[in-house]
C-alpha cells in the first residue's frame, strides 16, 4: 500500500506538466508540503514532447532539467506518477483526495539500466512520439524521464515478456504483483493543472487527417523535428520517407471555429512560425513554406519573432482559412481555398501539410471529480465558488509555456493563502 503523509496544510497539485511542476515547486520551495499527482509515468507533460520553444528557439529539456533537479532535491515534495485524482471531498482548508494509482510493475529499485527492455520482445505504439514510432513493452518513456524508472506496459502482463523482464532485472525492481490501488489523503488546497490535449484532427473532415498520410498535426511535426524523435529529426513525408521541402501550415485547425473549438488556442500561430524555421533550417533555399492564416497572433513581444520569420524569403503568408485538402499525385496534399487578400482562389500542392491543431482542456467538461466553475470551452474560471481549488496553466485557458508558468506561480500563492489560513499564520 502506498502511503502519503499529508495534512490539511498539504497542497495537492493535480498534473505534473510544466504548470503542475511549477506550482508544486514554487510552493515546496516556500516551505509548504506538496503532493504532486501525475497521470503519466513521468513528469514534464507535453513540454517534454516539444523540440524547441518559441520565440527563443531554445530547448524545453533545458528548463526541465532544472525543474527535475529542483524536484529531486526538495524534501517537501511527494510525487505520485501513474496516478489520477478520482475524487475530492470536503471544503476549502479541509479536503480529502482519492487517488487511483496504476501499477508500473517496476519499483524504486530500478536503476534505469535498461536490461528489462533488452529482454522483452513485444513492441507497441510509442505515445511519447504520438504513435509515430514503436517502443518495447518494458520502457523508459524518454531519455530524461523523471522519475528515472522503467515501466512495464500492462499489455505484456501475463505474457512471456513480463517474466523475461522480471528475470532480466538484477535488482528485484520488476514486481509483477503490483496492482491498482486507491488511496485517500487530506489536503487543504488543490491546484488543478491538468493541461491540454490536441484537438482530434480527424474531426476536421475537409482536411483529411485520417485519410491522407502527408497531413500531420503540429504536435506530431514537433516530434519529427526532434533529432531524438521518430525520424531522427528529418522532416520527411510519412507516406514514403522522402524529404518534405514544400510544407504548408494551416492555422486555426479546429480553433476559432463554430464547428470545433470556439476559442483561439493562442499558441498555434507562434508554434507554426517556429516550425517554419525547422523547415527553413533543414532545407535552406530549397524550402518552400506557406502559412495559411486568419490573423497572425504574435502577441506583445513575440512580434519580433513574427518579423524574423517574415524575413525568411522561403516563407509566404496567405490570409485564408483553407476550405479543403485533397490528395493529388504521389500522395501530395493539395490545399484548396481563397486568399481573402484580393479574393483569389488557390489550389496549392505540397509535400506535407501541418495542421496547427487547437488545444482543448485535457479534462472533459463533465468529468471533473470536484465542483468547479468552467466556461463553455471547458476551461476553469477563477471563481470564489471553487473554494480551495485553483486552476494553473492551460487548464484555465489556452496558454503558452511562459504564461502557463506565470499563472502556475500565482496558483501556488493562492493555495498557500488557504493553507496558511489552515495553519493559523494568517492575520
Amino acid at each position: 500500500m502506498t502511503e502519503v503523509v499529508a495534512t490539511n496544510e498539504t497542497i495537492l497539485v493535480v498534473g505534473g506538466g510544466i504548470s503542475g511542476m511549477t506550482a508544486a515547486l514554487e510552493a515546496a520551495e516556500t516551505g509548504k508540503q506538496v503532493v504532486l499527482v501525475e497521470k503519466r509515468p513521468y513528469l514534464g507533460g507535453r513540454v517534454s514532447q516539444l523540440y524547441k520553444y518559441f520565440p527563443k528557439l531554445c530547448f524545453p529539456t533545458c528548463g526541465l532539467e532544472i525543474n527535475q533537479r529542483r524536484s529531486k532535491m526538495n524534501p517537501n515534495l511527494t510525487i505520485l506518477t501513474m496516478a489520477e485524482v478520482t475524487g475530492i471531498k470536503g471544503e476549502k482548508g479541509s479536503y480529502t483526495a482519492s487517488v487511483k494509482l496504476s501499477p508500473r510493475y517496476v519499483n524504486e529499485n530500478c536503476t534505469a539500466c535498461g536490461d528489462c527492455a533488452k529482454a522483452v520482445e513485444a513492441e507497441f505504439d510509442d505515445d511519447y512520439n504520438y504513435g509515430l514510432s514503436k517502443r518495447k513493452g518494458a520502457y523508459l518513456p524518454y531519455r530524461m524521464a523523471h522519475p528515472a524508472l522503467y515501466v512495464l506496459d500492462p499489455r505484456i502482463i501475463g505474457t512471456d515478456d513480463a517474466q523475461k523482464a522480471k528475470d532480466a532485472c538484477k535488482y528485484e525492481a520488476v514486481d509483477l504483483d503490483m496492482a491498482e490501488e486507491t488511496i485517500d489523503f487530506p489536503c487543504g488546497a488543490v491546484i488543478w493543472a491538468t493541461g491540454w490535449q490536441p484537438y482530434d484532427a480527424a474531426k476536421i473532415q475537409p482536411y483529411g487527417y485520417d485519410r491522407f498520410d502527408n497531413v500531420v498535426t503540429s504536435v506530431e511535426f514537433e516530434r519529427m523535428a526532434d533529432p531524438g524523435g521518430p525520424t531522427d529529426g528529418k522532416i520527411v513525408r510519412p507516406s514514403d520517407g522522402e524529404e518534405a521541402k514544400k510544407v504548408a501550415f494551416i492555422q486555426c485547425a479546429g480553433s476559432r471555429d463554430r464547428n470545433h473549438l470556439l476559442h483561439c488556442s493562442r499558441i498555434c500561430c507562434m508554434a507554426s512560425l517556429k516550425q517554419c524555421t525547422y523547415v527553413s533550417d533543414a532545407y535552406g533555399e530549397d524550402a518552400d513554406i506557406s502559412v495559411y492564416y486568419i490573423d497572425i497572433r504574435a502577441i506583445d513581444r513575440f512580434e519580433d519573432f513574427y518579423e524574423k520569420v517574415q524575413a525568411i524569403p522561403q516563407v509566404k503568408f496567405i490570409k485564408s482559412k483553407p476550405a479543403s485538402i485533397v490528395e493529388g499525385t504521389d500522395k501530395r496534399p493539395v490545399v484548396h481555398g481563397v486568399d481573402t487578400e484580393g479574393y483569389n482562389r488557390f489550389a496549392d500542392e505540397h509535400d506535407l501539410v501541418v495542421l496547427a491543431i487547437g488545444m482543448e482542456p485535457s479534462v472533459d467538461k463533465d468529468s471533473f471529480p470536484v465542483d468547479i466553475v468552467i466556461n463553455r470551452e471547458g476551461f476553469i474560471e477563477a471563481a470564489p465558488e471553487n473554494g480551495g481549488v485553483f486552476a494553473a496553466g492551460s487548464a484555465s485557458d489556452a496558454l503558452d509555456v511562459n504564461r502557463s508558468v506565470q499563472h502556475a506561480t500565482g496558483a501556488a500563492l493562492r493555495a498557500i493563502q488557504v493553507v496558511n489560513g489552515a495553519a493559523g499564520v494568517e492575520g
Binding site: 510544466i18 514554487e26 520551495e29 516556500t30 516551505g31 520553444y53 527563443k56 531554445c58 530547448f59 529539456t61 533545458c62 532539467e65 532544472i66 533537479r69 529542483r70 529531486k72 532535491m73 526538495n74 529499485n109 536503476t111 539500466c113 531519455r143 538484477k170 533529432p227 531524438g228 476559432r256 470556439l262 476559442h263 483561439c264 493562442r266 490573423d295 497572433r297 506583445d300 513581444r301 512580434e303 519580433d304 481573402t340 487578400e341 484580393g342 479574393y343 466556461n375 463553455r376 470551452e377 476551461f379 474560471e381 485557458d397 489556452a398 504564461r403 508558468v405 506565470q406 499563472h407 502556475a408 506561480t409 500565482g410 501556488a412 500563492l413 493562492r414 493563502q417 496558511n420 492575520g427
Partner: protein, 761 residues
C-alpha cells in the same frame, strides 16, 4: 565544521560497473591515491541496504566527507540524499562504462578513466565543507510593493491574504494608476458553460473595472500600509533585510525594512504626439484609447460626444496598432497585446450608447487570444461593430470632419472613410527606471560612435524608481525595449536582482487581467525569496543551497572584477573598497569566483580548490605512452546532462577525456586552464550555454562572461608556447547528444594532429 574531516568512499558495482571495471583496483585507488580512510563496495549502492550502509557510517562511524562512485550525479539523487555531509560523486556508469565500448583492447584505458574519476571525486570532497547558514539570516515577512496601480494593488492584497504585511508605495495622490480612468474593463471570463454555441447567445459584455473595490479592500486591510505621493529614494540591503527610504512629496522620509520587493509600476501610455500622420494634436477629435476612457466615463452611459464641438458621435474609427508594430523612428516595435480587445470594448460603448453610430475597427491582425478573447470578439461582432482588415496611412482633419485613409487589405485597394471621431489604439511603454547597464555601455564603448550612441541612451534615461544602493546601478536590468523581463520562458519571474520581482506591464505589455495574474505570481516569488533568505538558502535555481561566497581579504587586490561581473549585482564595495558579498542576493553561480584573478573567492561546496584538485589528481601519463588527457569543463545544467544522455544513447567518448561539471561556465577560473596546461593536459574543451540575446545561461551572463574571459586564454597559450587549438570554447545545448561527445572527440583528434603537450613531467 569544527569536527575533523572523516573520509569514506563507496563504490557501486551494479549496473555493469563491477563487470566492466576492476572494482578492487578502484578501491585501491580510492584508498591509496584518494586517501579515503574507509572504502566499501556494494553491488547495488542505491538500494535500501546500500544507502543504510552509508547512513550507518555517517551516524555511527563519524563519516562526514563521503565519495560515492556509482552513476551520474543526476541519477539516484533521492537515494543518495545525504544532506548532513559533504559529498562528491564519481560518474562511473554514464561517465565511463556507458560511453566506452566493451572489449579487451579498450579495457586498459577505460579502467584508467574510472580510476581517474575516483581520484577526482576523492580530491573534490577533500576540499569541500558541508555548508551551513552564515547566521546572518532574519525572517522579515513584510513586502515592499512599488506602484499604486492595479498590479501593485493586487500584489498587496494577495500578499496580505497569505499573511505577509505590505507597504504599498505610489507616486500618485490616489490609488488606481493608469487603469483608474477605465469606464469599463474587458470581461475577464469567457461565455459560461451553459451558453449555447449560437450566434444569438448571450456573450460577455464590458464590465465594471472593479478598481474602487480594490481600493476599498486595501484601505480596510490593516496589514497594508499605503504611502501616497511617495517615492523610494534609497533601497539597500538584500532579501530578508532590505531597507528602503520612502519619501513623500511633503518632504518626510520614513525608513522601513523588508523581506522582498515587488516592482509593479505598470506602464505609461504611448505619447501620441509622435503620430502627426494621424492628426493627433491637430484636432481634439483624434484621441487615444486611453483618452477615450475618460470621455466614456464622463458620458457615463449617455451618448459619447466629440471633444471639438460636443456633437454626438455618429461614426467612429479605431486605428489599430497606432505607432506600434512599426520600425519607424519613435514608434513601438512590439505589439502591446491589450489594444485589440480594448478597441472592441470601446467600439461597443458607441454601439450601446450612441444610437445608430457606426463603429469600425481597422486592423491588420486582430489579436484576441484564448477563450475569453475570442468570445469577446464575437460579442463585438454581435454588437455589429465593423471589423475591416486595413492599414491606415493617414488621418486628415478637414474642417469638422475626419477622413481616414487606409489600404483595404481585402479589396486590395486604397480607400478612405469619413467619421466624427478617430480613436488611436496606442500602446504601452513600460514605466521603469534607467537600465543599470546604460552607464556601463558608455564606459565600455569600443569606439566613439558606439560611445555617442550609448551616451544618447543614457541622457534620455528615465529617473530611478528603486534607487538601489547597488554597485551595479539603481534599477532592474532591462532586456529589450525597456522591459525588465528576464526573457526566460521556463522561469518568467527569474530576476537579475534577487528578491526584487517585476510584475505587470513592466515585464511585457499586457492587459489588466494578465497584470493581475502576473502580480500574484511575482508576489509568490517575493514571499519565497523572503522565506529562503531567512533559511540562508539560495534563490532559484539553486534553492536549498546553503553555501555562500566568502573571500580571503588579505589576498584581495581590490580589482573589482567580481563586483562588476556578478550577473545579479550582488556584490557591493565596502568603505575600504573591498567586495561586500550580500549573501542573500547571491545565486551561487560562482561567476565571482571565476572572475577573481587572485583566487580568493570560494564557496564551501564549490571552490577553486574543489575543481583544481580534480584537475591535478588526474594521472598524466608521460608523452611516450600516447595517452593524451583532454579536460572538459561542462555546464552542469546543459552540457553535462547532454553527455549523460549521450551515454544512455550509446554514443562513444574518447577514453582520454576527463569531464568536470561546473555550476556555470562563468565560474571557470583562468587558473584552472593555466594549471591544467602546466600539468600536461593536451587539450581543454569548455562547454557553456548559448549567450546571445536569446541567451540560455541560467545565470544570465555567466556563459557570456566566460567566453569573454576565455578570449584571453590565447595569451596564456602563447606564453607557454602552446598551439591555440588546444583550448576550445563551445556553446552546447542539452539536446546536443551527438555533438557534445563529438566536440571532445574532435579535441582528441586535434591533439593527435598537433602532438602531445610538452608539459608532461
Amino acid at each position: 565544521m569544527a569536527d575533523e574531516k572523516k573520509f569514506a568512499g563507496y563504490i557501486c558495482t551494479g549496473c555493469g560497473i563491477g563487470e566492466r571495471l576492476d572494482a578492487g583496483q578502484l578501491e585501491t585507488t580510492a584508498k591509496r591515491d584518494g586517501k579515503m580512510a574507509e572504502v566499501k563496495q556494494h553491488e547495488m549502492l542505491c538500494s535500501k541496504e546500500g544507502v543504510a550502509m552509508i547512513r550507518d557510517d555517517i551516524d555511527n562511524n563519524g563519516a562526514n566527507h563521503i565519495m560515492i562512485a556509482a552513476c551520474s550525479r543526476r541519477a539516484k539523487v533521492e537515494a543518495f540524499n545525504f544532506t548532513d555531509v559533504a559529498m562528491s560523486r564519481a560518474n562511473l556508469r554514464e561517465g565511463v562504462i556507458w560511453l566506452r565500448p566493451e572489449g579487451d583492447e579498450h579495457q586498459e584505458t577505460t579502467q584508467e578513466m574510472a580510476d581517474d574519476y575516483i581520484r577526482m571525486a576523492c580530491a573534490e570532497v577533500k576540499f569541500m565543507t558541508q555548508p551551513s547558514p552564515s547566521g546572518e539570516q532574519t525572517l522579515n515577512k513584510t513586502l515592499l510593493v512599488v506602484g499604486g496601480g492595479v498590479t501593485g494593488m493586487t500584489s498587496s492584497i494577495e500578499a496580505a491574504k497569505a499573511g505577509y504585511p505590505v507597504h504599498l508605495v505610489a507616486e500618485e495622490a490616489k490609488l488606481g494608476g493608469v487603469w483608474a480612468d477605465l469606464y469599463k474593463r474587458v470581461p475577464f471570463r469567457a461565455a459560461a458553460v451553459d451558453v449555447p454555441n449560437s450566434k444569438k447567445a448571450d456573450l460577455p459584455q464590458p464590465e465594471d473595472p472593479g478598481i474602487d473595490e480594490m481600493v476599498a479592500q486595501i484601505e480596510a486591510d490593516s496589514r497594508i500600509r499605503v504611502h501616497l505621493n511617495a517615492k523610494i529614494t534609497k533601497t539597500s540591503g538584500a532579501p530578508g533585510r532590505f531597507s528602503a527610504d520612502i519619501s513623500t512629496e511633503s518632504g518626510s522620509t520614513a525608513t522601513e525594512n523588508f523581506g522582498a520587493i515587488v516592482q509593479a509600476t505598470d506602464y505609461k501610455p504611448y505619447d501620441a504626439n509622435k503620430l502627426p500622420e494621424f492628426a493627433y494634436g491637430k484636432t481634439p477629435d483624434v484621441v487615444t484609447n486611453f483618452e477615450l476612457e475618460k470621455l466614456a466615463k464622463e458620458a457615463n452611459g449617455a451618448p459619447l460626444k466629440r471633444p471639438s464641438d460636443g456633437k454626438e458621435v455618429k461614426s467612429v474609427a479605431f486605428v489599430q496598432c497606432a505607432g506600434q508594430r512599426s520600425e519607424k523612428e519613435g514608434h513601438l516595435p512590439y505589439c502591446s497585446g491589450f489594444c485589440c480587445t480594448e478597441s472592441i470594448k470601446q467600439a461597443m460603448y458607441f454601439k450601446a450608447q450612441n444610437p445608430g453610430c457606426d463603429a469600425t475597427v481597422l486592423f491588420d491582425d486582430l489579436r484576441t487570444p484564448g477563450a475569453a478573447g475570442e468570445d469577446f470578439y464575437r460579442s463585438g461582432q454581435q454588437a455589429q461593430v465593423t471589423f475591416s482588415k486595413g492599414k491606415v496611412s493617414e488621418v486628415v482633419a478637414d474642417g469638422g470632419d475626419l477622413k481616414v485613409k487606409f489600404k483595404d487589405l481585402i479589396l486590395n485597394e486604397d480607400t478612405e472613410m469619413d467619421c466624427d471621431l478617430v480613436v488611436l489604439a496606442t500602446g504601452q511603454v513600460p514605466h521603469v527606471g534607467p537600465d543599470p547597464y546604460a552607464q556601463l555601455a558608455v564606459d565600455e564603448a569600443e569606439d566613439e560612435e558606439e560611445k555617442a550612441k550609448a551616451q544618447a541612451i543614457l541622457e534620455v534615461a528615465p529617473p530611478s524608481i528603486l534607487n538601489l544602493d547597488y554597485r551595479q546601478g539603481t534599477d532592474l536590468p532591462q532586456l529589450k525595449y525597456g522591459f525588465v523581463d528576464s526573457h526566460f520562458i521556463c522561469f518568467p519571474y527569474e530576476t537579475r536582482r534577487t528578491g526584487i520581482y517585476a510584475a505587470g506591464p513592466v515585464r511585457r505589455p499586457m492587459d489588466m487581467k494578465q497584470a493581475m495574474e502576473d502580480a500574484v505570481g511575482a508576489t509568490m516569488k517575493a514571499i519565497q525569496a523572503a522565506e529562503n533568505a531567512a533559511r540562508g538558502s539560495a534563490a532559484h535555481p539553486r534553492v536549498g543551497d546553503l553555501s555562500y561566497p566568502s573571500f580571503r581579504k588579505e589576498g584581495c587586490t581590490q580589482c573589482k572584477r567580481c563586483t562588476v561581473e556578478c550577473p545579479f549585482g550582488a556584490i557591493n564595495e565596502d568603505e575600504k573598497r573591498y567586495p561586500l558579498f550580500n549573501e542573500s542576493r547571491c545565486r551561487r553561480c560562482g561567476t565571482c569566483m571565476g572572475a577573481c584573478p587572485v583566487r580568493v573567492i570560494s564557496f564551501e561546496n564549490y571552490s577553486i580548490d574543489t575543481v583544481n584538485q580534480q584537475i591535478k589528481n588526474v594521472e598524466i601519463p608521460d608523452e611516450f605512452e600516447e595517452k593524451p588527457r583532454i579536460l572538459a569543463l561542462a555546464c552542469e545544467n546543459d552540457a553535462y546532462p547532454a553527455l549523460d544522455m549521450a551515454a544512455q544513447a550509446g554514443e562513444e567518448l574518447t577514453p582520454f577525456a576527463r569531464v568536470i561539471p561546473v555550476r556555470c561556465l562563468g565560474s571557470v577560473s583562468l587558473s584552472w586552464i593555466t594549471d591544467a596546461l602546466n600539468s600536461g593536459y593536451d587539450g581543454i574543451v569548455l562547454m557553456g550555454c548559448r549567450r546571445d540575446e536569446d541567451y540560455q545561461c541560467h545565470f544570465v551572463r555567466g556563459s557570456a562572461i566566460a567566453a569573454e574571459r576565455m578570449s584571453k586564454v590565447g595569451d596564456t597559450l602563447e606564453s607557454l608556447n602552446l598551439e591555440p587549438e588546444r583550448v576550445a570554447v563551445y556553446e552546447v545545448a542539452i539536446t546536443d547528444i551527438k555533438r557534445a561527445p563529438q566536440l571532445i572527440n574532435d579535441m582528441a583528434e586535434t591533439v593527435e594532429k598537433i602532438g602531445m603537450s610538452p608539459f608532461k613531467f
